[in-house]
């Protein structure tokens, strides 16, 4: 019996997720004339209206303490009131829970907005080193990548040239040089820290950050307000929304469907991806779109969740999951922070230390040849902090505790301002069999989609590395004539950051040479489904100490070039 059916619009490439991976894919493909439909689970972003850049705390009645003083009761926003409208999320999302297996700790950070976490992230942009792609060859742990540094280097070049990264050429193996814009000058306390690091034999070099100090592609240079985390209204730092997605809209080739929570990827009888089912959050109805190619870039764990939730007779364990590795090998970065008090920095003449958001210097890993002697197999880099920061709610509670009240308190706060330094280690975790995510069979979110259950364990390797960080930071503080105040991060009972809190979760949809133990090939294409790609941190085989975003950008760019070529040849 014939009945009238509306033919669904045929989309060309559907990209799920608009962060570093999805933004890069949308940018690269639309520039080549390929039509892209971008699904984002959060709302559209309007930087001018949304970002609270430059707002003083006293311009808000609650000063940043939130309505009714919520921050005093642990009900504050993840990165504070003034960052919240760029973050649009946190470690908990109303109506979108996740569960954690008994005995595990894990906190899952999500941003729901066009641009995802790139609207607010720290913009630290470090290339992986040559050795980072061959970890198994070096120490027999984890697995090698299916690609080498030489494969990805041209794409690091393209990304850096396009988004703009500060830095200096140093010739350090653990921190390969790239295409750099001139960095801003180091601050006074950073030069004192550099003296200490040199005394300990640790290199301390210009930070590589996705902030432009020279105009680039119509974006003005940084104006040095130091508030990148609130979102940048001049787009002088990298965000996929402002640097890639909004320009891609101008090509006429990009369509954005926001407030669209992907639920399932559909396949045809031949086992190829044929469309996407999503929940339109505004109408709370299910919609489906048909397409030629699906690119999943929803963030490592969200992408794993979508594949695991896309079951069919051809893919009973979830889409492209014949290997059973979707959701496995979950890694975060090993984090440890320490604060110190340095009397020689007291009462210096004040000056503006905002600069480019965050530190202007950092310390790359320096002992890549010493792992046998160190007793832990992988390295870390050190981020530094200090200076005269904009006073915020909560910054002086410690002073009030230590100095009581009255003129004494007031004098002490004045004296101590700018005399604190902070060090944060960011280290490589080894993937292990006890750290993974899976579908919780009993829980769905408010969109009716089964949620993730997390399992996580640090191993002795991470513990030893964290202890080495602790010792190094104490040595740095003491060699400056300072005193250790204590650890600053939210660390767990193992003395390491709580898993998930460094927000570098990767590895759950990893690439590899063999379909037996990996999901994707080196071009981020599923071994089992040629027209399905994953382009986010899920693809990572290891999680080197370098922050993941730049490598997500480069892998996504490389995958997009390859996809366009395969589409042209008719292979996809």
């Amino acid at each position: 019996m014939a009945h009238i059916r509306q033919t669904p619009e045929q989309h060309e490439v559907v990209v799920i997720g608009s962060g570093a991976g999805g933004g890069t894919v949308a940018h690269v493909l639309t520039r080549m004339g390929i039509r892209v439909t971008l699904l984002e689970a959060g709302p559209m972003l309007n930087p001018l209206a949304d970002f609270k850049e430059h707002v003083w705390p006293h311009e808000v009645d609650h000063r940043g303490a939130e309505e009714g003083g919520g921050v005093y009761f642990g009900r504050g926003e993840a990165f504070g009131h003034f960052n919240a409208s760029a973050v649009k999320g946190g470690w908990t999302l109303e109506g979108e829970p996740y569960t954690v297996a008994k005995g595990s700790d894990f906190l899952w950070f999500r941003s729901r907005v066009v641009g995802g976490r790139t609207n607010h992230y720290g913009r630290i942009s470090l290339r992986f080193s040559d050795y980072d792609f061959r970890p198994y060859d070096r120490d027999g742990l984890g697995a090698n990548w299916p690609i080498s540094y030489e494969d990805i280097a041209p794409y690091y070049d393209k990304v850096e040239s396009f988004i703009g990264i500060t830095g200096t050429r140093e010739g350090i193996r653990s921190a390969p040089d790239g295409v750099f814009q001139p960095p801003p000058p180091p601050k006074a306390h950073e030069l004192v820290i550099r003296k200490a690091s040199h005394k300990l034999g640790i290199p301390c070099i210009a930070m590589r950050r996705a902030v432009i100090t020279r105009p680039l592609n119509g974006r003005p240079a940084c104006h040095y307000c130091g508030q990148c985390g609130r979102g940048c209204i001049t787009a002088s730092n990298y965000s996929s929304s402002q640097v890639q997605i909004f320009p891609a809209l101008e090509t006429g080739k990009l369509k954005i469907i926001h407030s669209a929570m992907a639920r399932e990827i559909l396949t045809d009888a031949r086992g190829r991806a044929s469309g996407v089912v999503y929940v339109d959050k505004q109408s709370r109805t299910e919609k489906r779109i048909a397409c030629r190619v699906v690119v999943v870039a929803a963030s490592a764990c969200e992408s794993a969740r979508l594949l695991l939730n896309s079951r069919s007779s051809l893919f009973p364990n979830g889409l492209a999951n014949g290997s059973g590795t979707v959701g496995r090998f979950l890694m975060d970065t090993v984090g440890l922070g320490m604060a110190g008090y340095v009397p020689s920095l007291e009462n210096l003449p004040r000056y503006n230390t905002d600069g480019m958001s965050g530190a202007h210097l950092y310390m790359p890993w320096w002992r890549w040849e010493d792992h046998d002697r160190l007793g832990f197999p992988r390295g870390y880099h050190i981020e530094i902090g200090g200076g005269y920061n904009m006073p915020r709610v909560g910054d002086f509670h410690g002073a009030a505790r230590r100095h009581g009240y009255g003129l004494k308190l007031k004098r002490q706060v004045r004296k101590e301002y700018g005399a604190f330094v902070r060090f944060a280690g960011r280290g490589e975790m080894i993937p292990n069999n006890l750290s993974y995510c899976e579908i919780d069979p009993e829980v769905v979110d408010r969109w009716g989609i089964p949620v993730l259950r997390f399992h996580f364990k640090w191993s002795d390797y991470e513990w030893k590395q964290a202890r080495h960080m602790e010792k190094t930071f104490a040595d740095l503080i003491e060699s400056m004539g300072g005193k250790v105040i204590g650890l600053t991060s939210h660390f767990d009972r193992h003395g390491i950051s709580v898993p998930g809190t460094i927000i570098h979760e990767v590895g759950t949809v990893r690439m590899g040479d063999s379909p037996k133990n990996s999901v994707l090939n080196g071009f981020c294409q599923a071994h089992e489904v040629k027209n399905l790609l994953v382009c986010d941190g899920g693809t990572f085989v290891s999680n080197p100490d370098k922050n993941p975003t730049l490598t997500i950008n480069a892998l996504a760019w490389r995958a997009s070039d390859h996809l366009a070529e395969e589409m042209r040849k008719g292979n996809v």
Partner: protein, 239 residues
């Protein structure tokens, strides 16, 4: 750059687009004149508006005698000195009242704490907190700080219980508040943390600290004299 960051004042309301244009102007001027941010449109705070309209802030939660006690406590926590005004000048009492007026949990901490303070003062001196002499007021507050001192609390725990785990089951050794002042200790901690928050985030507090940022600069520079001074004072000496 000037030595002192001028105190931000309320200016003509600006749209964010106008603000962008002004940033662009400041940047093309080559960083000659750092541009101060003061968001006219953002300065719509209830407390500030009310003060401007009526000349005084009317407490939303606290009774007059409670509010005067909050004011007195704020003034004692951050008094005026030769550098800057007090926490009252910086709006701490308004801040506390506004937040309490929208959060019953916080309001109870304050109303309960204030009544505890009154009762304690009457018991000690037969006077309300406001009627007591400054010496009587500070003598009580000193004890509240002293009893709450993190090192002393830890020390007391260690000597009483830490070394004698075996005895913890005996009622004599049961963990109990360090002293009868404990409720006051907790209240004064709240009062102190919210007062420093209000003071140091205010224009007066920012000026007192000498924070120079939140400006649009065409170029970022670090004064060479400050670098030299920082290195000279450090254990590494010289440059």
């Amino acid at each position: 750059m000037s030595d002192h960051s001028p105190e931000p004042e309320i200016r003509q309301p600006l749209t964010r687009r106008q603000m962008l244009e002004r940033i662009a102007l400041a940047l093309t001027a080559g960083g000659v004149a750092p541009f101060e941010f003061a968001w006219g449109e953002q300065v719509h705070g209830e407390a500030r508006e009310e003060k401007e309209r009526t000349g005084a802030y009317q407490p939303k939660l606290f009774k007059p005698h409670e509010y005067r006690t909050i004011q007195r406590l704020a003034e004692l926590i951050i008094p005026a000195d030769e550098h800057s005004g007090s926490a009252v000048d910086a709006g701490a009492p308004e801040f506390i009242d506004l937040l309490c007026s929208r959060n019953p949990e916080l309001a109870d901490i304050y109303t309960g704490g204030l009544l505890w303070l009154e009762a304690q003062m009457r018991q000690e001196h037969g006077a309300s907190f406001l009627e007591a002499t400054e010496e009587q007021q500070t003598s009580l507050l000193d004890r509240l700080v002293d009893e709450g001192d993190p090192e002393k609390v830890e020390g007391a725990r260690a000597t009483r219980y830490g070394a004698s785990e075996d005895y913890q089951g005996f009622s004599t050794y049961r963990i109990h508040p360090v002293s009868d002042l404990a409720p006051g200790v907790r209240f004064f901690e709240w009062m102190r943390k919210m007062t420093v928050d209000a003071f140091y985030t205010s224009p007066i507090g920012i000026e007192d600290m000498g924070y120079q940022g939140n400006k649009a600069l065409g170029q970022y520079e670090v004064p060479e004299s400050i670098i030299q001074e920082a290195l000279r004072r450090s254990p590494f000496g010289g440059a």
